[in-house]
């Protein structure tokens, strides 16, 4: 009896809820950006690069990467996967940056406010020229408190051009709910936000509703991890799209998007270049194939550099894909063996990261004109190792900011 009760007690202790919430700091009505003018593309191109951290390196490391993504600046740092989500503009002949910083691995966050003064690079940048020196000065704080700690970044060098395209792919539309971003995983808002985290592409999860509408949802069942609707229970596929649209919301309040909505946003409202469609059940394959083909055409008509790629994660989905007439098959990414990658004529082979750098197979894929991605690479040490020793063409990650920092910092 004692043992049974001890076991019950242990189960209860383990099941204790330890929900974490992250504050997203904001200047709110005190923001200076409302008064600032929009910056030209030349300012963005010229200011982008690697900066040495002269002050603030205890928090942000010795160097940072300033990268503009779809018109908005982000900073990626070397410590704790730190990153800054910023807005920028011109105010009184200076370039100002405002936003928040946080650690990807942890809950620390705060406000940041930077300026490039007129005599420290802003004059030349605003004139469309590359200055001899760019100095970014400002302050950062903790949570929503006034930023008072000093920070100084000095431009060190440009980001080295890539020998071949490398994809930084944000998992579940950019990152998971457990990564505590302001937007829910697999939401339209997260797909738009992914670029600011450093992603150049995203992976999204697709399931069919009861009435056969492909929608973005990861888990098999309705649950409190993903959905803000305590009263909806059971399998996702037992609800119609109309019921889900009206009764359910994602955990941060967004609507559950349809695949079409998600692809439209990716195509028309972002600069993302790779959309990995992670199919959850075999019946999704035939349903979404014409949608994906349609978006391939739309992208081609727009001369837009973006690929919509159907993932083949297991044997059932692989077989459902091969059952499609060859002309109806969208481009695919195969997570199975190299032989199955060849048999399905997938353009990408995507082995799990635990298999290692698998250099021989990656080189074979390259020789055949295919690419190789690995998933889901999250640990800082592994990201560094795979960048150094591997020859992958992209990583799927929950920490795009970390991959972005390490990739852009490469020698």
């Amino acid at each position: 009896m004692y043992r049974v009760l001890a076991l019950i007690s242990l189960v209860l202790l383990i099941s204790c809820n330890t929900d974490e919430e992250l504050l997203i700091p904001s200047f709110g009505k005190d923001s200076d950006l409302k008064k600032a003018k929009q910056l030209d593309a030349s300012v963005m191109a010229n200011s982008e690069g690697i900066y040495a951290v002269e002050q603030g390196n205890i928090t942000f490391g010795d160097s940072i990467v300033l990268k503009w993504n779809n018109g908005k600046p982000s900073i990626f740092c070397g410590l704790h996967g730190g990153f800054m989500i910023l807005g920028a503009g011109e105010l009184d002949k200076e370039i100002i940056f405002e936003g928040y910083w946080r650690f990807a691995y942890g809950l620390e966050t705060g406000l940041v406010k930077f300026t490039i003064a007129e005599n420290e690079g802003a004059k030349e940048l605003l004139a469309g020229n590359m200055p001899d020196e760019i100095v970014v000065r400002g302050t950062f704080g903790r949570d929503n408190s006034t930023p008072l700690a000093l920070v100084v970044f000095k431009f060190a060098r440009k980001i080295r051009p890539a020998l071949r395209t490398f994809h930084i792919l944000g998992h579940r539309g950019g990152a998971r709910n457990s990564d505590l971003h302001p937007y829910s995983e697999n939401s339209i808002e997260m797909i738009q936000f992914a670029e600011h985290l450093g992603a150049t592409g995203v992976e999204i999860d697709i399931r069919l509703t009861l009435d056969g509408v492909p929608m973005l949802y990861h888990d098999e069942k309705m649950n409190t991890r993903l959905i803000k609707a305590d009263f909806l229970v059971g399998p996702f596929s037992d609800y119609t799209s109309g019921q889900l649209r009206k009764f359910a919301a994602l955990i941060n309040g967004e609507k559950i998007p349809t695949l079409t909505e998600a692809l439209e946003v990716a195509l028309y409202e972002t600069k993302l270049t790779f959309i990995w469609l992670d199919i959850k059940t075999p019946d999704v394959v035939a349903k979404i194939a014409p949608i994906v083909k349609d978006f391939e055409q739309r992208a081609a008509q727009q001369s837009r550099n973006i690929e919509f790629i159907m993932g083949l994660p297991d044997e059932d989905i692989y077989n459902a894909y091969l059952a499609l007439p060859e002309a109806d098959r969208p481009k695919s990414l195969c997570e199975l063996s190299v032989d199955q990658t060849r048999a399905s004529n997938a353009i990408v082979w995507a082995p799990r990261w635990t298999l290692g750098t698998v250099l021989d197979d990656v080189r074979k894929m390259h020789d055949e004109g295919r690419r190789a991605f690995t998933w889901t690479l999250d640990g800082g040490a592994f990201i560094a190792e795979f960048l150094r020793d591997g020859e992958f063409d992209g990583f799927l990650t929950n920490y795009p900011s970390m991959v972005a920092y390490m990739y852009y910092m490469r020698k």
Binding site: M1, L13, K221, F231, S241, R245, K246, F247
Partner: protein
């Protein structure tokens, strides 16, 4: 959560094994009352939580050996909420209401003396959602969720096999963090003694 652990520790204390009676009994208790949800429901802004109270029922079978500690199984019916969609639905949206209810299936430990009883249960709740839908297909789905309960009661013996009592139950659904308190009238029937 700590409360149930403390209670389990209390139940396992030597006092719980004090001999009370030479008879071993199997007792069936039915209860009916009014349930009040004490937790906020996590729902989208466009939903209206229109029911936080509702009639509830419980059914419990306990094996009561010769000492204070008894063990059994509990079930019942708990309507949790009725949710109504607000506003005019858009083209791609459905409309209607959704009702969430639960059937608890809980292993229960209880300790009673002089008609007073304290009990704790742990197990699963069978959650069911059912509702109307403006575009034909009604909502109907179910799932299991872990949870626990506490209760305190007093039973007045009416005869050697029947008792009438008052009981307050507190139900918790661990994942959805839904909590309900249910005061109810109970009828206890000792269906077997040996």
């Amino acid at each position: 959560m700590r409360r149930i652990i403390y209670f389990l520790i209390l139940l396992t204390s030597p006092a719980a094994f004090c001999q009370m009676d030479s008879l071993i009994r199997v007792q069936l208790t039915v209860g009916g009352g009014w349930g009040f949800r004490t937790s906020e429901l996590n729902i989208p802004d466009n939903q209206l939580d229109i029911s936080t109270r509702s009639p509830c029922a419980s059914l419990r079978a306990m094996w009561k050996p010769e000492h204070m500690l008894s063990i059994g199984i509990e079930s019942g019916y708990l309507p949790i909420t009725q949710v109504e969609a607000k506003g005019t639905p858009q083209v791609d949206e459905d409309d209607g209401t959704a009702n969430l209810s639960a059937i608890p299936i809980l292993a229960t430990l209880a300790m009673d003396q002089s008609g007073f009883e304290f009990a704790a249960g742990i197990g699963v709740y069978s959650l069911r959602v059912a509702g109307t839908s403006s575009k034909g297909k009604g909502i109907k789905n179910s799932a299991l969720e872990l949870g626990y309960s506490f209760s305190a009661s007093y039973t007045l013996e009416l005869s050697s096999i029947l008792g009438l009592g008052f009981n307050v139950k507190y139900y918790v659904f661990t994942d959805r963090e839904i909590a309900m308190i249910v005061p109810q009238i109970t009828l206890a029937w000792t269906m077997l003694s040996y």
